[in-house]
Amino acid sequence: MTATATTPAVHGWLARAVSDVAVITRRNLLFTVRLPQVLVLSSIMPVIFILMFTYVFGGAIQNALPPAAAGRYVNWLLPGLLAQFALFGGAATASGLAEDLAKGAIDRFRSLPMAGAAVLAGRTLSDLVRLALTLTLMLAVGYGIGFRPQTGLPGLLGAAAVGLLFGYAWSWVMALVGLLVRSAEAVQAATYLVVFPLAFTSSVFVPTQTMPSWLQPFAANQPVTVATNALRGLVLGPGALPPGRTVAGQVALALLWAVAITAVFVPVSVRAYRRTVR
């Protein structure tokens, strides 16, 4: 007479969690595939940044560049923009979660016997795939206007890997922003608030040595600068780094930032998710 409880045939919490994360990741990626406009529109900004800065500011900044840039601003700029948009990719995480909250999807997920962190893990993973597409596009556009990695393919792949890990870590920060801020418009404002100050007070666009001395200690050591230096060192060699910095050291530091950010924000964001009240 009465309905019997469903006996889940997927056993073990780890198998369940992996399955749940895969289901959510697939759901989010299907959104990207079936509404490609979103991805296309979000790809315009990084392309504009590459073109605008290369052609508008390139001439002026060229002289301040170290020789490792081989006389081309785009060589110097592109690794920095990769780091900036790795950070910026997290905006999609925040707005995606805010939208799921508004639509009631999070309510449904929270009422299901699924792994607590799966919605956030699936969201950050699908955004990682999107970020990989964005970075690939940026590299292609950069190559088209003269970007040439000076260290060959291994350096380029290493830089892509560091950029993706760095972006993935920030995705968890933005997950928290999305859960706390909720409305799509406010999420956008909040992500700009995080991203632009960090991007412009870093070594993305200009060497930090050119900044005022009161700003330098922050600018030279904040995470976007560290990631930019790591990427730049990987594609241009040690000559592209400020004096006293090594490629291995900057890569290690960038990875440490990624691990530290993830270690702090995964539990905080998961906790916020569990307590989210629509």
Binding site: A3, T6, R34, G104, S111
Partner: protein, 342 residues
């Protein structure tokens, strides 16, 4: 063996803020296995908060809450495996097809891929969406989206289904379709707990009803039991506007609690505990006061009357446009009144 599928004792939920709101204020509720249980109450009564506590979305501040015999606070994950939730908004993904939506939720209930697909196909058939299952949800009408949401909440074959205002915002035809589906579910053995502000809906669908007001159950029972609790009958009079004050004055002492209900322009509602005798007495007094009523009706109390008597507020009918405790009387089941007059 205990046959209760939902047991709530002394449930308190307070929302913080500058002025804390006691959304649930010592609520007690027992729902037996099987059938449809209706939670009836105005906006802000605490219905949605209760559903959210039962569905493990909110933690109670105080009290004992068991769903399918399991404590929601201690083992929420076990509760989730046994419940389905259809919220106030159809929480379905626009970019997925109907079948993909249901299958996804099946997977998240822990079903292996093949079984999730099979159960999705079954439940879509049952809910009458097979024809459109392959279409993206953004092409669905509002009623279809609600039905899909219902399908998704059923794919895990829950013991209890929570429906929070399942028909809010639907047109009358879609509403009736959904009602038919809910009745079918019960035959399949699922216990349904639904909230509504619509008296007609509770009356039509629910085997038992709890009236919720200010975070407590103020009365519960079958629709008929609730109606009996208000008294044997209700007397409704329509008088010319000019005679209204005089009429109210004349009928004052008919009511045990003093004062006739005069919320409805032109209409006056008075409890009539002694039925026809009360009617005769009312007419005698009106005659003495020189008032000739335009219409007089003696009828069994509707749930509307029950609601009014229990909470002192008017509930809405589905044709109404929102709840307003001090509002006019138009939205109060006009056709019920007409039926009663005939």
């Amino acid at each position: 063996m205990d046959n209760a599928i939902i047991q709530v004792q002394d449930l308190v939920k307070v929302f913080g803020g500058k002025v804390p709101v006691r959304a649930l204020d010592g609520l007690d509720l027992t729902v037996e296995r099987g059938g449809v249980y209706g939670l009836l109450g105005p906006n802000g009564a605490g219905k949605t908060t209760l559903i959210r506590v039962l569905a493990t979305l909110l933690e109670p501040d105080r009290g004992r809450v068991r769903v399918a015999g399991i404590d929601v606070r201690h083992h929420p994950e076990q509760v989730r495996a046994r419940i389905g939730l259809a919220g106030q908004y159809a929480a379905v993904d626009d970019h997925l097809t109907g079948r993909e939506n249901v299958e996804m939720v099946g997977r998240l209930y822990g079903l292996p891929r093949r079984q999730a697909r099979r159960q999705a196909v079954e439940v879509l058939e049952r809910i009458g969406l097979t024809q459109v299952a392959g279409r993206p949800v953004r092409t669905y009408s509002g009623g279809m989206r609600r039905r899909l949401d219902l399908a998704a909440s059923l794919v895990g074959r829950p013991q209890v289904l929570f429906m929070d205002e399942p028909t809010a915002g639907l047109d009358p035809a879609s509403r009736r379709e959904l009602w038919a589906l809910v009745s079918d579910l019960v035959e399949g053995g699922t216990t349904v707990l639904l909230t509504t502000q619509y008296l007609e809906e509770a009356d039509q669908l629910a085997d038992r009803i709890a009236v919720i007001h200010h975070g407590r159950v103020v009365s519960d029972g079958t629709g008929d039991q609730l109606k009996d609790r208000v008294g044997g009958a209700v007397l409704e009079l329509t008088v010319p506007e000019a005679d209204r004050a005089q009429t109210l004055q004349a009928l004052r002492t008919l009511r045990t609690d003093g004062g006739a209900d005069d919320r409805h322009p032109g209409r006056i509602v008075v409890p009539a505990p002694h039925g026809a005798a009360t009617l005769a007495e009312a007419l005698r007094r009106l005659h003495a006061a020189g008032v000739t009523p335009e219409d007089v009706a003696l009828h069994k109390p509707t749930l509307d009357d029950v609601f009014l008597a229990l909470t002192g507020q008017l509930a809405t009918t589905p044709s109404g446009n929102g709840h307003d405790p001090h509002g006019g009387g138009d939205r109060r089941g006009q056709h019920q009144h007409e039926r009663a007059t005939r």
